[in-house]
């Protein structure tokens, strides 16, 4: 391996630190939208570990790259769902009057 | 050292200089309009120099054209967002008594 050992591990180590940092944020932050941001930091850290460990002498392994792209898309899909839920919850909270759809099993 | 690498170096230097100037302006100018002015004009001049340097370094017309397209898009986006920001700040100020 021609890369200096420390340099080879630089990105995965950064990823590990990001996971710890994001986890800390997730625990101490109160608002769910901020927690969602923290989760995205954790995910970025995991992707960096995954991709960084595939670093070869001159190319990075395409296999983890593909896994990371899949992971990024899944993560944005979930972030969007979370953001929508947070918004809807805030709407319900500030306008308690709106007619929630009656639960189907009690509408008779 | 060929003349290309000398020119690239000079262009890069100029680009970095304008970026630095823009950043200093952003930090030091007193009001939002002046800051926007520093940010958009100086930074995009800087970007232009760096884009030129990159195009020269690659030495291919096709790639130079792509770089030019990217630069154009960046300028348009910056112009639009600067306009929008200027409006927002003016509204904020007109709200004040």
């Amino acid at each position: 391996m021609s890369l200096p050992a420390a340099l080879g591990h630089l990105f995965p180590l950064t990823g590990a630190a990001l996971v710890g940092l994001g986890l800390f944020g997730f625990i101490i932050l109160r608002h769910p939208l901020r927690q969602l941001l923290a989760v995205n930091v954790i995910a970025a850290g995991i992707f960096l570990i995954l991709g960084g460990l595939g670093r070869g002498e001159d190319v990075t392994d395409p296999y983890p790259q593909a896994l990371v792209i899949t992971g990024i898309v899944v993560s944005v899909a979930l972030t969007a769902l979370g953001a929508a839920m947070i918004t809807r919850l805030a709407e319900d909270r500030c306008a308690p009057a709106p007619t929630p759809e009656p639960p189907g099993d009690r509408d008779a | 050292m060929t003349w290309v690498s000398v020119a690239t170096g000079l262009l890069l230097f100029a680009g970095v200089f304008f970026y630095a100037a823009g950043t200093v302006g952003l930090l030091r100018f007193p009001d939002p309009a002046a800051r926007l002015h520093a940010l958009t004009k100086a930074d995009h001049l800087g970007l232009a120099f760096i884009a030129l340097a990159a195009a020269l370094e690659w030495g291919s017309v096709a790639i130079a054209a792509k770089i030019a397209a990217v630069w154009l898009l960046a300028i348009m986006a910056a112009g639009t967002s600067a306009q929008l920001m200027a409006r927002v700040t003016r509204q904020d100020h007109s709200d004040e008594p």
Partner: protein, 314 residues
Amino acid sequence: MTAAFELILCLMILGTACVALLVRDFLAAIAFFVVFGNLMGLAWLALGAVNVALAEIAIGAGVTGVLLILTRGRLLALGEQIDGNPLGHWLNLGAAVVCSAFAVVLGAAVLSIAPDDGLAPVIDRLMPRIGVENPVTGVLLAFRAYDTLLESFVLLGALVAVWSLAPADAWPRAPAALRMTDPAALNVAESFGRLVLPIALVVAAYLVWVGSDRPGGAFQGGTVLAGGFLLAAMGGAMGLPRSDDPAFRWTLVAGPLVFLAIGLAGMALGRFLAYPEGMAKALIVTIEYFLAFSIGVTLALLVAGPPVRAETVP
């Protein structure tokens, strides 16, 4: 030289992440998160993973950033407090200790793994069989096409899940309009949106096309398309569709459906998701074009959110 650059880059990544998590003002937090995403993109470039860099900057920084800003705006309009975060409590100290300990263990585990491109030779050997040259596209759409197929359904499912949150009397209206309210600002944004949408279409098509041989692909192209749609919607150059519009529903499902159909057709010839000899590249490019278009529409609608009641639409 490279080492110094990478070291500074990693420190900046960690620094921006810290600020994004801990700063009081949430708008500043989002701004730093977007910078963080772009720096992550640089990190992927440093790793030589251009495909991932494109995806990270477009999706991780771009779409997620827009989503957070939009959600923040909607929450503030509802009078919800997002800023402020009590720090200094002893529980936070405990959390810091636990998380640092976890990061240290994780770091030790990472250090004991030698980075290598173990599967790259395997992939190189297989690439000639599918006729495309971008190995990441090869993994995504041939060797692990099953993952990608399921993932395209995750994206579609996320949109349906967002729709399921619609208030009772809002279905099947359109999502809340993204159009700017200030008429003068709208004017600027509209001309920009009109200009950008066709450019986004061309760039997206280009990214998918080069994606078979060079960095690019369906997800990157689809995200550019989504960006174009969102800008056009913000400028009012384009309305958002009602969720019961049949043509719109077909554009949503087209990508996953074509992918599934080609996979099932492969089954008739031998195996699920197997491409017949010599046709692999044509099929992959077909899948990618449909997928990119559906991804573009789906991502834009995911950002827009669930349908809303008529009176809240300006």
